[in-house]
Amino acid sequence: MIKKFLIIIFTTLALTLNVNAGSDGDLILKKNEPSEVKDCFEKINRVTFAFNQTLDGVIFKPAASLYRKLPSPAKTGVSNSLENISHLLTIPNNVLQGDLKQAGINTGRFIINTTLGILGIFDVAQYLGLTNYEKEDYGQSLAKAGVGPGCYIVLPVLGPSTIRDTAASTLNFLGGDPWYNITVNKDTQYFENSDYYFSRGASGVDFRAKNYDSIENLENNSLDFYASVKSLYLQDRQQKILNSRKVVNTQDDSDWEEISQ
């Protein structure tokens, strides 16, 4: 399985790096500019979006509502554990992006939090100076290698994505995600399939709970909720690819020029 995964990664990177040898930050920024990402499947996307909203109303929103009632330390513990598991996907992507220093830091974080932090419940590493954790995935690695996002797509249950990110996420199931390997692929005897699916579901509920008011607020005050979610998702993705919270090209100043005060 690992062999297969390495071959896929090598081939993908060889192809993309070859084609995009001249890629730099500006090009990556431009390629991932939200207004440049085409909504080729808008009609189908809107239907899927409506389906996801119904699903949210039936499952995720009520679950998030209950989850919010848990005491703060419990919620922080769950959130920390889920974040700890995500290191398993982040570390290989740090390496793929050539960020070996961050790979080292995240490996340290994972080891410390899994042991001293009792399976990641406590983020002990942050007190030892290993802070500023940013999740990485194969979609981001491909983007860094210069692959454009392709069309915007809304996936059932999973939500907004792009063609590139959807294709890249299949690597998770082909040996690229150690957490998937040890749970679903049974590379060890210590975990069950259900551990993987439970962690994915819990991540969804945790995200929904953290953004509960913002999502409600956005839905109530949007003229086109679908378009708002799409814009926010693509802006967020652009930032994650660039690993920057900086205001990147937030507004083209020339666009304001003729607007007088």
């Binding site: 939200p34 207004s35 919010r68 703060s72 953290k210 953004n211 509960y212 008011d213 913002s214 607020n217 109530n220 005050n221 949007s222 003229l223 086109d224 679908y226 378009a227 708002s228 799409k230 814009s231 926010l232 802006q235 967020d236 930032q239 920057s244 919270r245 900086k246 205001v247 990147v248 937030t250 507004q251 100043d253 666009d255 304001w256 607007i259 005060q261």
Partner: protein, 196 residues
């Protein structure tokens, strides 16, 4: 000699006058936030809070500018009457949307942390909305238009790196694109929202 003195006095007068009225962007944001927090923590009905928040928004936000920015390039095709109508509808929409979003918060604590002068016209003010037991802390950056230093105006809120002005621009673009760029459809949508 006297002439020189007069010129010097006039220069100093205007210099001190100018600097005494200019408001630093971070001070402006902190004072705006404090005003809004005070209203939100008062024992008022939701409608009363909304009315008071609208007054703050009208004084501190460049509503007209944001409106035309959000409209995108289609604004160039509008005639005078359409521009007037759009400005009126956008103002109503913005004030309703802005104040009802804010009125959900009770006593939000926002600390201004730093500022970054982008150009003569723009300063980004970085702030932090403190977390509660129900939500994590949130980074909020304010894009302040400082062309007139005596009257700085907010042009965008960037929440955890996501620009609200940009999101709104793409939302309006989506409505227009789905309706053959017919501005009347956008007018109707804005009107319906304000009547809700």
């Amino acid at each position: 000699m006297n002439k020189k003195k007069i010129i010097l006095v006039i220069f100093l007068y205007f210099f001190t006058l100018n600097s005494s009225f200019s408001i630093e962007a971070d001070v402006f944001v902190q004072s705006t936030v404090n005003r809004a927090s005070k209203i939100l923590s008062e024992n008022l009905s939701k409608d009363e809070k909304i009315e008071k928040l609208k007054i703050i928004a009208e004084e501190t936000v460049d509503i007209k500018g944001i409106g035309f920015y959000t409209l995108g390039s289609i604004r160039k095709n509008l005639d005078g009457d359409q521009k007037k109508k759009y400005s009126r509808l956008f103002r109503e929409y913005f004030l309703k949307s802005f104040s009802s979003r804010l009125s959900e918060y009770t006593n939000p604590e926002i600390d201004v942390l730093s500022k970054e002068v982008l150009s003569e016209n723009y300063t980004i003010v970085n702030s932090l909305l403190k977390g509660t037991s129900e939500r994590p802390e949130v980074k909020i950056d304010w894009r302040v238009y400082t062309k007139n230093p005596e009257n700085p105006l907010i042009r965008d809120l960037i929440i955890e790196g996501l620009s609200l002005a940009r999101t709104q621009k793409e939302e309006f673009a989506s409505i227009l694109n789905s309706n053959d760029n017919d501005i009347n459809v956008l007018f109707n949508t804005l009107e319906e929202f304000s009547k809700k």
